[in-house]
Amino acid sequence: MAKWSTGIVHALLVLGIFVVIGPFIYMVMTSLTTDNFSLPSPTKLLHADKTLVNYSDAWSKNNFSRYFLNSMFVSSVTMVLSLSLAASTAYAFARFQFPGKEFLFKLFLFTMFVPAILNIIPQFTVIQAVNLVDTYPGLILLYIGSGVVGSTFFLRGFFERIPIELEESIVIDGGSRWTMFYTIYIPLSLPAIGTLGIFAFSGTWDEFIVALTIIKTEINRTLPIALQLFRGQYATYYGLFFAASIIALLPILIIFTVFQRQFVNPNVTEGGVKG
């Protein structure tokens, strides 16, 4: 009986995979064919000669490699800074008492209910006021500033689950709040921090509207905007467009695979408290 139902669940999961991955297969197949001035027909996709030439072409056209590095820089910096900021802010809300905490937290929560796109106009005026338009610091500040609340809320939940008794050992050793923070809360929340890191990186990597508004100098643009360029200039070369798209997807894939290990055994609190 148990074997039977396990078989069904496996079958369902595999079936789902075809739905999830089908569009990607189509994209990869198209990127391997050339002379696609119109969308290639399914028969052509199956039978045409396959080549990697679209990938090298895409990499060398339209300053693509430069945009790729720009995005890499912006996303890495944003991820590291966001994680540090979110961890410390979440710690403040999870394990400190101070007057007005409840109000401040409510205010934070309230902003989570406001769609980010509604803020884009006034946010631009702020960046303009501090003279950071068309600079990476301006772009990164805006990314971090608008992301703090969400990631703080996410991490706070995990911090609060950590048994407060664990702090006792630090107190006995005469350690400070800071010691507790980096010897208990950070290590025990690594799965959550890893998850959040992926969100921060891929969210920034993929971000389109803010980058378009803040960055004016063409050479400083980020990848999503470069993809737009590809479509504009090479609208009919579907193979080239999809090759560029796949290159753009790769870093996220790699990062996710690396971080995936963080998720493997996240039951770190298990056995942390005896009795």
Binding site: V9, P42, F96, F98, P115, N119, T125, L227, F263
Partner: protein, 298 residues
């Protein structure tokens, strides 16, 4: 009083920067957005903007296209939020079963759409649903599994175009729901399950009495994020249907964006924004009050 000061001094190093950035980049823009909505705002010379009171709001309420965009926005939420949530939870529960093998593989594949760029995915689906017989979906549904008699012009009709937008949004969101639940499921201390099994609880009962209650904060978090996310939806409509045919697939967000950055009518766009914000506030108000209070003590 001295105690309060001492508490502030202690918490300040951890709290200050986060609060400051939120104030500058989220709270202030919020207020400023409301302010702009009362003006005929001049983008290039803000000091010349004309105060027009509630004119922008009155105009929005009489704009038939706002009504259509509102309809699409509400429908989008009603379709995609339950769609993503249900499928995501089912996948998470299945992957989390102890007897399932290749967990990492399944999780990886189902998460792929989430980490894929919205721009790439939007164009991909636009091409998959392209009109001609060489569009992949038309090929599948006409030639391979003959469900449809003839190729459909997916993006030329209001409802099929909306359908494409819904499909891509659900397709892309399932993995996110799954990963959130998996993270939560795996953070549940094994000792709880051990205790339950010592007390004689098995499979389904463990699930109902231990797993489900522990998932409640996550469910709140996920649903609220999905609802807000559905109101944020933008790129898929912006790139796939471009609001067409005849402005009939606009969401409030794309319609607002069009007024802001195509017609540079920031005042009117901000008024639409504020009304959208109010709507979300009302919709999620009851959740907001309980949000963050659901704490599970192990």
């Amino acid at each position: 009083m001295r105690r309060a000061i001492r508490q502030y001094v202690q918490v300040a190093p951890y709290l200050t920067l986060g609060v400051l950035l939120t104030a500058v980049f989220v709270l202030y823009p919020l207020v400023k957005g409301i302010y702009i909505s009362f003006f005929e705002y001049k983008v290039l010379a803000p000091e010349l903007s004309l105060f027009v009171g509630f004119d922008n709001y009155a105009r929005a309420l009489q704009d038939p296209k706002v009504l259509i965009a509102l309809r699409n926005t509400v429908l989008f939420a009603l379709v995609t939020v339950p769609g993503q949530w249900l499928l995501g939870v089912i996948v998470a529960m299945m992957v989390n079963l102890r007897t399932i093998r290749f967990k990492l593989f399944f999780r990886f594949v189902y998460y792929l759409p989430v980490i894929s760029s919205w721009i790439v995915v939007s164009y991909l689906f636009k091409y998959l649903f392209s009109d001609s017989a060489s569009g992949m979906v038309n090929y599948l549904l006409v030639e391979l599994i003959p469900v449809l008699p003839a190729p459909v012009n997916w993006l030329q009709q209001t409802w099929t175009a909306n359908l494409v937008v819904w499909v891509v949004s659900i397709w892309k969101g399932i993995g996110w729901v799954m990963i959130m639940y998996l993270a939560a499921l795996q953070s549940v201390p094994k000792s709880l399950y051990e205790a339950a099994s010592i007390d004689g609880a098995k499979g389904v009962r463990t699930f109902i009495h231990i797993t489900l209650p522990l998932m409640k904060p996550m469910t709140t978090y996920v649903l609220i994020n999905l609802i807000i996310g559905s109101f944020q939806a933008f790129i898929q409509v912006f790139l796939i249907t471009e609001g067409g045919p005849m402005d009939s697939t606009h969401l409030l967000s794309t319609y607002m964006f069009r007024h802001a950055f195509q017609f540079f009518d920031f005042g009117y766009a901000s008024a639409i924004s504020v009304m959208m914000g109010l709507m979300i506030f009302v919709l999620t108000y009851s959740q907001q009050r309980t949000f963050g209070k659901d704490r599970i003590e192990y």
